[in-house]
């Protein structure tokens, strides 16, 4: 603080509080709606005080025992599908990127730069841009409605490779020299030296990629037609059938809260790594 300005301090807290409230309001409304009966929500305006149906709504959604005109697949199953795919995407990306970054930085082989650039080009084209042909490939390979179809195409992105390459370049050469002098082969060096050094980068990337994987929407929309393979983010959309009043909004909103919880928990619990990962992957 450069100087004392009590008026400005007051304004600061006022603006920030309003900002936080605006950011939180939609989620609060959602939470309130998820604790009410469907009838209470339809009577506009809905009360802003939580109702007493919290337990009832959430257990109904998780087991899929009650449903409106839209899909009523059990959300418990959807959360599981989301968790498996998000973990596969995050861990798969980290694993294949660590290996390829290691190869590109620590070995000399023909076409090395060509490979680096061809991996790098994939940074540029998001799945959204090439959906139709990618869908074709996945369906030709018989991967519709499978975990492989949900995850493998999304592992193909270069952000992580790029980040690890940048990190490996900052690792002092003396470490590799020492390892070689002690007779350690490349894989030994990778496991015992490089991997432990990359721990923070791995944690940071994990947070970002877990959220990325959990929040996928368009891709699952295309490759899953079986209710058993719906991830939860997409399942919500399937629960909304049309017109405002016919939906069981209390159940939809309970699902929305459930879909938000795991990624929000990851962000809040791993905030330090999350911020680091976010700011570094974009460099």
């Amino acid at each position: 603080m450069v100087e004392r300005r009590p008026g400005l301090d007051l304004l600061t807290h006022l603006v920030l509080t309003i900002g936080v409230l605006i950011v939180a309001f939609p989620v609060y409304v959602t939470f309130v709606a998820s604790t009410q009966t469907a009838e209470a929500i339809v009577q506009a305006p809905m009360s802003l005080v939580p109702g007493d149906r919290l337990w009832h709504n959430y257990s109904a959604v998780l087991t899929g025992s009650e449903g409106g005109p839209g899909s009523s697949a059990p959300v418990g199953r959807m959360m599981w599908v989301s968790l498996v795919s998000a973990l596969t995407i995050a861990l798969g990306k980290i694993a294949i990127s660590l290996l390829s970054a290691f190869a590109i930085v620590y070995f000399r082989f023909p076409f090395r730069n060509f490979f680096f650039w061809s991996i790098f080009v994939t940074l540029m084209l998001p799945v959204e841009v090439r959906i139709a042909p990618t869908y074709q490939v996945v369906s030709d390979l018989g991967m519709l409605n499978t975990y492989a179809g949900l995850t493998v195409p999304l592992i193909a992105s270069a952000t992580a490779t790029f980040l690890f390459r940048q990190f490996f370049l900052t690792v002092p050469d003396e470490l590799a020299e020492a390892a070689r002098m002690d007779g350690a082969g490349p894989m030994r060096f990778f496991w015992d030296v490089l991997l432990p050094l990359s721990r923070t980068s791995i944690a940071a990337l994990f947070v970002i990629q877990f959220i990325y994987g959990w929040n996928q929407y368009l891709w699952p929309l295309l490759v899953t037609t079986d209710e058993n393979m719906y991830p939860v983010v997409m399942g919500i959309k399937r629960m909304i059938a049309g017109g405002d009043a016919v939906n069981e909004w209390n159940l939809v909103m309970a699902t929305a809260i459930l879909a938000m919880l795991p990624p929000a928990a990851v962000v809040l619990l791993m905030q330090k790594w999350f911020v680091k990962g976010l700011v570094e992957t974009e460099k």
Partner: protein
Amino acid sequence: MEKRVRFRSLTLPWLLLAPQLAVIIVFFFWPAGQALLQSVQMQDAFGTSTEFVGLENFQRLFADELYIESFRTTAVFSILVAVCGIGIALLLAVFADRVVRGASVYKTLMVWPYAVAAAVAGVLWLFMFAPSIGMVSFWLRAAGFDWNHLLNPNHAMALIVMAAVWKQISYNFLFFLAGMQSIPKSLIEAAAIDGAGPWRRFWSIVFPLLSPVTFFLLVINIVYAFFETFAIVDAATQGGPGKATSILVYKVYYDGFKGMDLGSSAAQSVVLMAIVIALTVAQFRYIEKKVQYS
């Protein structure tokens, strides 16, 4: 930058690269090649034969009133998202930077919407603004404003812009805050001693020093509005009313999977790829600059 020390092996680097390359070739280069190929082909109505038509798909595309309209919609949408998102985030970050005590509390409270899926954000805002049951639309009506995004194209656009901005604020906020914290305090203090007030200090010192971050965020936000908002549009308005909120990515999906016009969809994909590449190049020019002057 190169390593002085390298390992020697003929096969190991290929083995290490193999998984990454396999995934990229099968799910990236092959489909992208297919898109290029399909964009110069046309399929007959039964999908039994294809013929080479050259650039006809592209000509058809740019002669199509609806496609040009979708371009305009996307431009309006992304400019609104980028300007509102960056403006609000900058305002909040400037104030958050002033806070000495409790700064991390505000930061934590601002950060978490990043975790909310775009589709969920769309559903949340749809619920608040639903014409017959939404609480915000009820308040608006009570205030004499008749909100109906199902009929009024401007309302529909406002709805998806709000949802998209809401989701993106935390990201912009973090970058501005990091940018501001890297500005040397001595500069600000010197200006304060020379008698510059907070307003003056912001515009003559902080804002110019933040301009690389602002430019970077501008590119990122436009990319976000172009490509990552599909879920928001699909959840909140489905491109309607009419085609009023049918942005380019939504149209690619709609034409390819609902309209089954693969040639046109592929041509649209190719146009989108060109846009992404242009935006990425812009982003890298920025990084080069930053490396030189930092």
